[in-house]
């Protein structure tokens, strides 16, 4: 029972009844998180580029979205006609841009390209060199962990983590009980945390400045090699 599906629920929502707000929150929280974790195309005088929230910013933006959406004036502003998710995602987009402006990730003058439909054909999926480097590093880390597992362990990781199957479905495919899958998965997650600690991954400081410098030096080296007479 969500606002937009029933008039009485909408009234309860507007009054701020905890049970309805909790239901709304639990229903839409995953959608809002997925929306906020995408890349946002932003434009300013300097051109158009993409920006994404960090894992911690994702928490802040998600919480702030619901804080804003649940304020009395915003609950009254929802008309009950349009799908509530669309209303909520508009609040989420505004929150994400505000947060990225506040953190300096995008300029204060930047606007969301979602507000300028004529520019949305611009690619938003391209990765920066820093993101490529990080992606390679973390995937190597995961691959090294998977290499330590048995064939059964790798199969379980594939079904549960990569394919996203439920524990029941994974158990059926692996011909195990659900309890066995639960225990093995828990053990695997514990092993993964040990792997993260032992590998030093958590202690490596993610200093963008150093990473950018590394990428810059690597680019310069490649340019220099490319310009050498053969």
């Amino acid at each position: 029972m969500l606002p937009g599906t029933d008039r009485s629920v909408l009234e309860s929502f507007r009054r701020g009844e905890t049970s309805v707000l909790t239901q709304v929150y639990r229903t839409y929280s995953p959608e809002v998180l997925r929306y906020l974790s995408r890349k946002f195309a932003v434009g300013s005088d300097g051109g158009t580029r993409t920006a994404a929230l960090s894992a911690l910013d994702l928490d802040a933006a998600h919480q702030e979205t619901f804080v804003r959406a649940f304020r009395p004036n915003m609950r009254q502003a929802y008309d009950g006609v349009r799908p509530y998710l669309g209303f909520l995602l508009t609040v989420a987009r505004s929150t994400a841009i505000d947060l990225m402006r506040a953190s300096g990730r995008v300029s204060r003058e930047a606007v969301s390209m979602d507000d300028a439909p004529e520019l949305t054909h611009l690619s938003t999926e391209a990765r920066t060199p820093e993101e490529e480097a990080l992606s390679t590093e973390v995937r190597d880390l995961v691959r090294a962990f998977l290499d330590t597992l048995t064939d059964e362990g790798r199969a379980l990781a594939q079904l549960r983590f990569v394919e996203g199957l439920s524990q029941e479905s994974a158990a059926q495919q692996l011909q195990l009980s659900r309890g066995e899958v639960r225990v093995r998965e828990r053990r695997m997650r514990t092993q993964f945390t040990e792997h993260l600690k032992d590998s030093g991954w958590l202690d490596a400081s993610a200093e963008p400045g150093r990473m950018e410098l590394g990428v810059l030096l690597a680019s310069l080296a490649l340019c220099a090699i490319g310009s050498m007479p053969s």
Partner: protein, 252 residues
Amino acid sequence: MRWYERHIDASLTRWSLGDLSSHQSARLLRHAHACQRCGARYERWAQAHRALEGNDLHAPSSVELQALSLGGLEAALAAAAPEQASSRWPSLALLGGALAAVFLAVVLVPTATTTPGEFVARGEGTAPPGVALRIFCATPGQALRELHAGDTCRAGAMLAFAAGGHAPFTHVAVQVRGARNAEVTAGPFGLSGGLGKEAPLELTVPMPETAGTVEVVAVFAGSPAESLATLRGEQTEGTVVLKQSVRVEEAP
């Protein structure tokens, strides 16, 4: 998880197993926002779990989704509180005038009778009545130490808190100014204990690395929204504001 633990390492392991309660998730995230070391660890931790689940590094993992969803509900409901209060307790409006006078007196008394910027821990026998905030200094390798007026806490240590209060005070919001992150706002937290039985708040704040002064502001109110509104500087009736400065001494 013990409430005075300094960092989030132990919580991260339980986070990855999906074992944290909503309060513990909220505390972990609050601490990660306030602590540079833990913030960086949380980012790396989240990236690794995203990769393990075969996701794009921008797509949250299943455990991340769970923790973030659990951690944000309380704050979202707190934002909606003013409307709830008026609809559930319509008679409160009728009593507003009388209560406002009493509450205003409570607000004004501490500033008139206590040393500016300080108050006595526990609040027993001292103004303001009905509420108490206790501040603790957690230094690695040393026992937890309560900070009374004029006490110091070492640079790089952590501040921890406990609070209690009698009706009509039900919530407290805390703001720490001058900590490692310039300003930390946390809560509102429900008050589960009275005076002399102050309960720990799910909040730890890292002290700055250099000498100076940190100011702790706690707002006690009869609802979550009122405590936050007062902290934001809005005019509200019936709230009690406590302030205490903590001196930061250089680590040896």
